[in-house]
Symmetry: C2
Subunit: 419 residues, 2 copies
């Protein structure tokens, strides 16, 4: 008898996974290792930014009241009494019609309340003239205008991109509290698989899912433990998976989750006592994708078909792993685009078609990346997106507006916006 | 006298840089190190995909002609004569009303030309019945339907994302020819700078541009050589920059390119005999960005202001470095979005405002990421995009459609689409 499985909606399947995510504990890394990690704690301003009133330009610090009435016909002259670079502090207090030569970033000297830009002066030896009045605080960056001391600058759960690095450096965070990365184990299944460096034999194909998943994890900054291949024997499978669950936060398998005679994983899940969150999803490709959960470890049973394996990882494993790291934006970014071709074949399930998305000032377009079958390996090498077609009986025509999910963005979005 | 500089348009400035790019020579890496690199050679199909006619499902291989006339009322029965898993090959040639139990991915046995899915059968011991006829080649993945032997699957210049890894693995590329990564040196300038772990002193700020640029490079997979700080002395500057040019494919400096008294870089460029491509750009922030070129080495003179430094890197250094690696998609991706706030202040130069871009089924919106001045460091920690406002006298209102460039995409786009 063939086991009867009840397909769940994609959105429901994602929710079942995400509801069971437990955040991993934080760890400390040095600032130069922090790029690509996820903040475990908010970044607070340890001091005001700017830390003092400073000049945003190269020029001359003056008293604004001395500039009153300046014009092209009636230029006002100033005497330069000191000369300071960024990082230096003038000991002079500026008096009437005095000025201090000041560099970008240097503190405003005592007495001064405006900066005349170099370009706004005519210089002559130790004096210069101006042709316009300056307001109090004109060309002055005020202490704290960018950030106040104690203010939260970046929230916990934020992906540490280069701008976050800049802020961490500014506030003296030589070390950063980040989420620990999940330990992910990878088990290949399938006696038809040979390694990349092995020659093909009749009936064999090379294992492409393993290296692909390792790269999908690398893209998330996560290392992958290669745990070998599942043997075509249920007892041996059970022992290998049991050990993997003990060692890992997530165990990925490819293949073996279908209803075929050599698909031992459903039986292994049962023997382990794992909670099977779903074993059939209303999507193509990847409908056989199975996710189980045991002692805070996820078992991602991905399809053995390359395209289906890829989709299953991006839709279920990726947000779960990001969420384990505390990310507030674990989902693939959404776009809307006009379909560049007809896709007339109706399908009862949601379809995720590997696609090339392009956006220019004249609009956003999307087209399938190539040969579109779940066992296609060439189409996944092309393209940067999925076209998502809702399940139903109607097909889609060129020019129709369709949903698109982008693959390969550095940081995702906070919500799954599709049904 | 203040040096008079002629600002060039952003597009023109980018073109001047890109025209001088020379592609770096290729090198060989192993497949497991290839993620994130750029292909130096196209990936050719070393064999057909599928390499043989195979079953895309678990089921039974049959002769389609034996299924003619099957219906719910008149089921046709088949005898199972062999049983093969993926990777195995049946030695049997199928005869009339015979079937071979076949797994997903297994070769179609001799004589068979269709696959009955498991779900389409009622099984009884060693026999099963079907209730519908099957077309010739129904549920058969034909040899070469995904790719023909010798076909170009992925072009040279493509970013090696996980799907490319899958294709490389499929075709047995245990080693991959990729572009060498550029050697990039980083020189900080500014006597006001203290290191991240040092305490602040009056007039000092911490060096945030150095760690930020290192992370911007890390995002591109490029390591950064920290070459120290430029001293506030022209001769010492000259020697340090000269040495850096000899060792590096690109030298980044932050600060020191303005027209202030301590800005030695223009003089250093002149003494080196470097071709200054531009020293003023029609953009805010980052108008002082300077790019020079000498013996195939780029000198990126970025602003010392964090926001301006960030923009200068993304607009000029990033595409140049990607192009040196042969990337066909070196530019930031473009989007269009509705402005979520008023930005009424007109500016004669193009503005690049650090922004938060969000796209949902109800449309795309963009809003400034925070405090918007060139010396702001907090706004660059937030957001995933630039709002690009064309230079001119008019301001922009909430609801206006504006240009957006996305930051942090894995792979860019082939062209700079803005003026």
């Amino acid at each position: 008898m063939v086991e009867k499985r009840t397909p769940v909606a994609v959105k429901e399947a994602i929710e079942r996974v995400m509801k069971r995510v437990k955040q991993l504990p934080p760890e400390t890394v040095s600032l130069h290792e922090a790029y690509g990690r996820i903040l475990a704690e908010p970044v607070l301003a340890t001091h005001a930014v700017p830390p003092f009133d400073r000049s945003p330009y190269d020029g001359f610090a003056v008293r604004s009241k001395d500039t009153e009435g300046a014009s092209g016909e009636s230029r006002i002259s100033f005497q330069v009494v000191d000369h300071i670079g960024a990082g230096a502090v003038s000991s002079r207090t500026i008096g009437a019609f005095e000025a201090v030569r000041i560099m970008t970033g240097a503190p405003i000297p005592a007495g001064a309340d405006a900066v005349v830009m170099l370009e706004q002066t005519v210089q002559n030896g130790n004096t210069f003239t101006i042709r316009k009045p300056f307001e109090p605080l004109e060309n002055v960056s005020l202490k704290g205008e960018d950030a106040k001391k104690g203010e939260t600058i970046v929230e916990a759960g934020t992906f540490i991109q280069p701008g976050v690095i800049a802020v961490l450096a500014t506030f003296g965070y030589a070390e950063v509290r980040v989420a620990r990365r999940p330990v992910v184990g990878l088990l290949a299944t399938g006696t038809e698989l040979v390694d990349v460096s092995e020659p093909l034999a009749p009936g064999k194909i090379r294992n492409s899912n393993g290296p692909m998943i390792a790269a999908q994890l690398a893209r998330m900054g996560i290392a992958c433990r290669l745990l070998g291949s599942l043997p075509d024997d249920e007892d041996a499978c059970f022992e290998l998976v049991q050990k993997a669950v003990e060692e890992c936060d997530a165990v990925m398998t490819t293949g073996g989750v279908s209803v075929g005679d050599f698909d031992f994983l459903p039986a292994v899940y049962a023997r382990l006592g794992a909670e099977v969150l779903f074993n059939k999803v209303q999507m193509r490709p990847g409908s056989v994708t199975t996710v189980a959960h045991l002692n805070n470890t996820f078992l991602f049973g991905l399809s053995g078909n390359p395209s289906a394996c890829f989709v299953g990882f991006e839709l279920f494993a990726r947000p779960a792993l990001f969420s384990m790291m505390g990310s507030g934006k674990p989902y693939l970014p959404y776009e809307k685009a006009l379909l560049a071709v007809d896709l007339t074949k109706p399908n009862p399930f949601n379809r995720f078609i590997r696609a090339v998305y392009t956006s220019t000032p004249s609009g956003a377009r999307v087209a399938p990346a190539g040969f579109n079958k779940s066992n296609s390996v060439t189409s996944i090498a092309r393209g940067n997106a999925f076209i998502v077609l809702p399940g139903g009986t109607r097909g889609f025509q060129k020019g129709d507006e369709v949903d698109v999910l982008l693959i390969g963005a550095e940081e995702g979005v906070p919500a799954w916006v599709l049904n």
